[in-house]
Amino acid sequence: MQDFFTQYWSDLSSLFSNSQQRLYWGYLLCASIIAAIYSLHKSTSNFKNSLSTALGFPHWFSKSARADYLLILINKAIYLIFNPLLLGKLTVATLIFEGMHQLLGQRNIETNIPSWAIISLFTLFIFIFDDFARFYTHKIMHELPILWEFHKTHHSATNLTPLTVLRTHPVEGLLFAIRSAIVQGVSIGFFVFLFDDKVDLYTVLNVNIILFIFNIAGSNLRHSHISIHYYLCIEKVIISPAQHHIHHSTATRHFNKNYGAVLAIWDWLFKTLHHSEPQTQIQYGISKYQKDSEQGLTTLYLSAFANSYKIIRVTLARWLQRFLTKQNQRCK
């Protein structure tokens, strides 16, 4: 039991001390600086007021943000129990590695391709593959009614703070962990099979250099009250914080838009891209009529199960009715 608490505390504190986490203190600091500069630039008031606007204290103490904190604390314990039972990336990597052996029938690891090219290729490949997997999983979470019930926990946030990035139903969190294991395992297995010891990753502070740039460029502002938007041509390639705010909007015209994590090209290709609207005041949440009581833990954790059960029951009943109708028609 003591080991559990030690690990729990270690996992929790690493959220802010581990540079592989979005909430790493360095990234939060970068986001704060960007927010302060942006606020100062936009505001007509003095520096103190601009800084206060940038930090947005009222948001951090809102009912929605307090629900974020509780979810993070509880979910950490749930992940600690269930994550070891999930498919691991090393298992996936080994399966891919062995599968390629069998499929290709040969392996020639002697290559003339220079190491820097292989490392660059791996760094880029895993970033793009991971970003696409995030986009597509996100899309499915919105479009499949059962999965939407679980993803609603994230979208029920009415105030966005950087910690909202971890406001997730545990079922969704476990699905994300499996997605990550598959993406990383496939990439590792594939590249190590082809290039063996030459495979490596360009990193800064132990993070993929591309993700590092994304993080220091204010990734945490995606979940914040600071709506920074980019030029339209850039918003076709990279999702701006303001575009992600559109994704969290309660306005019907904004529903099911901007699923992308870093790149906007996936949304552009799948026709779900929506540019930022600097003049629009956006309200966050699932609907305009969302009640404060929906920030309660019972709703956030259990309503997804109850609603999913209803969906399954209705779907099964519909299928059964169709089947019986067909049988009756055959008998006639």
Binding site: N18, S19, Q20, Q21, R22, N75, Y79, K89, L90, A93, T94, F97, E98, H101, Q102, G105, Q106, R107, N108, I109, E110, I126, R134, H138, H154, T164, V165, L166, R167, T168, E172, G173, F176, A177, R179, S180, A181, Q184, G185, I188, G189, F191, V192, D196, D197, V199, D200, L201, T203, N206, V207, N208, L211, R222, H244, Y259, G260, A261
Partner: protein, 469 residues
């Protein structure tokens, strides 16, 4: 579960080793005589000359097995048999032999001990990893016979490197088996070879002292192996003249084979330890020294319960780690066979000359096969793990026509059948490494072919897996 048990055994034994080190000798040497009423003129109770004699019988037999000319050679066969099962006097030590800058003190087996052979101390059980349902003695006799008519130890038609097969299997079936399944096992029982009596009438050592010495002798380490650097130890076994001054412990200008040379698994322990990831040679030798000190401290009396418990802990540590040394070697050669098989296949596809690659491939397979069979001679049932190992490694490597040895006919000829491709066999080698690392808490993991997968998995981390966008 097995992993946990092994780790627990290693941890307990390491802790007790540390606790006892304060009183223990630095070298496995100069333990005093504790036999009551000893009347002889010896001053030390250490004695394991018979074991070192068997080490040089083994190394000499291995050297002889490389000298065939590809035709039936009764003279060579008889000579090899003399080193395996003979007990005659006058057998020269063929290896290790003196060379420039690295002189060896002994030149005759009898200088170490008289009337010794290998066959009489070979594992009695059947060997599942070799065709023909043979005992270990029968397997070694079969391999010796084949080696005598081989082409410098090689049979290119059936993919056999006899010196490797003989040597690596003999090390397990004789030295490892005798030590872990006899001297460190039943001979440590309270009433077997008790410590309050001389080993035999007039001996300068007690029953338990000699039993322990014999186990140490089979390990094959020099007396200072508890503190020797692994790279230095490896160089001594290779007979490198640069290391001679360090190796010549008594400063007599020659290497004494019984106290200053590495043999068998002590050499492979040093090989693993060179990586800096393991410490088998030092720690196993230290456990031998500590165990010997426990027996010496009993001062010629029967060991009491606490002393016996401490001694058994040392024995358990030695057995566990000795097994790991063999498993590390098997792991390494499975990795070598994997690379060799891929290289060979690439060479065949490129239509290049693959003779040297093929030779390397069967050489490494011979080492792997020998070590894997050796692992199964420790007197414990390895169950499904042993079955898996034997099936994956096969009775021969996959040969160039995608065939493999599957049996032996009644005239002793190999039977080949169609089998896997080289690529599939390479994949088997990955499975051998996986099976070994699942079974044992390996540390050195030389030539780990899937290490890069684990390294990259570690490097990528799992930081952003639960982020929600």
């Amino acid at each position: 579960m097995k992993f946990n048990k092994l780790m627990a055994a290693v941890a307990i034994a390491t802790l007790s080793t540390t606790a006892l080190t304060a009183n223990a000798a630095a070298n496995y040497a100069d333990f005093p005589i504790t036999v009551k009423d000893y009347a002889g003129d010896k001053t030390s109770s250490i004695s394991y000359g018979g074991q070192i004699a068997r080490h040089v019988l083994h190394t000499s037999l291995m050297s002889l097995s490389k000298t065939g000319n590809g035709e039936a050679n009764p003279e060579l066969l008889a000579k090899m048999q003399a080193y395996f099962s003979g007990k005659d006097t006058g057998r020269a030590i063929i290896s290790p032999a003196s060379k420039e800058g690295f002189g060896i003190a002994q030149t005759q087996v009898d200088e170490l001990s008289k009337g010794k052979n290998l066959a009489g101390k070979t594992y009695q059980g059947a060997v599942a990893g070799w065709p023909g349902n043979k005992t270990a003695v029968e397997v070694l006799e079969f391999l010796i016979e084949k080696a005598a008519s081989s082409d410098a130890g090689f049979d290119y038609i059936n993919g056999m490197d006899y010196p490797q097969l003989i040597s690596k299997f003999a090390m397990g079936a004789i030295f490892y088996n005798q030590a872990v399944d006899n001297y460190l096992d039943e001979k440590l029982a309270a009433d077997v070879k008790p410590n309050n009596k001389p080993y035999k009438d007039g001996a300068a050592y007690t029953g338990k002292e000699h039993v322990w010495d014999e186990a140490f002798g089979y390990f094959g380490a020099p007396t200072n192996a508890a503190s020797i650097d692994a790279t230095d130890a490896y160089s001594i076994a290779k007979g490198k003249k640069e290391i001679f001054a360090k190796a010549d412990l008594n400063g007599n200008g020659k290497i004494e084979l019984d106290t200053e040379m590495l043999f068998a698994h002590a050499y492979y322990a040093a090989g693993a330890d060179k990586s800096g990831k393991s410490n088998y040679l030092n720690s196993i030798t230290q456990a031998f020294i500590d165990g010997r000190q426990i027996i010496t401290d009993a001062k010629g009396e029967k060991l009491n319960d606490e002393q016996r418990k401490d001694l058994l802990e040392k024995a358990n540590f030695i057995k566990t780690n000795w097994e790991l040394v063999i498993a590390e070697a098997a792991f390494k050669y499975a990795g070598s066979v994997y690379s060799d098989a891929l290289k060979l296949q690439a060479g065949i596809e490129a239509n290049s000359d693959v003779k040297a690659d093929f030779k390397n491939y069967i050489h490494h397979w011979g080492e792997l096969k020998g070590f894997s069979m050796a692992l199964q001679t420790g007197g414990k049932d390895l169950g499904g793990f042993a079955v898996k190992l034997n099936r994956l490694i096969g009775f021969s490597p996959v040969l160039l026509g995608n065939t493999q040895v599957t049996g032996i006919d009644d005239k002793g000829n190999y039977i080949q059948s169609s089998s896997l491709s080289l690529n599939e066999f390479a994949l088997h080698m990955l499975k051998v490494q996986k099976a070994l690392s699942d079974q044992y808490p390996l540390k050195a993991r030389a030539k780990d072919q899937t290490a890069k997968l684990a390294t990259m998995a570690e490097k990528l981390g799992s930081g952003n897996s639960t982020e929600n966008d």
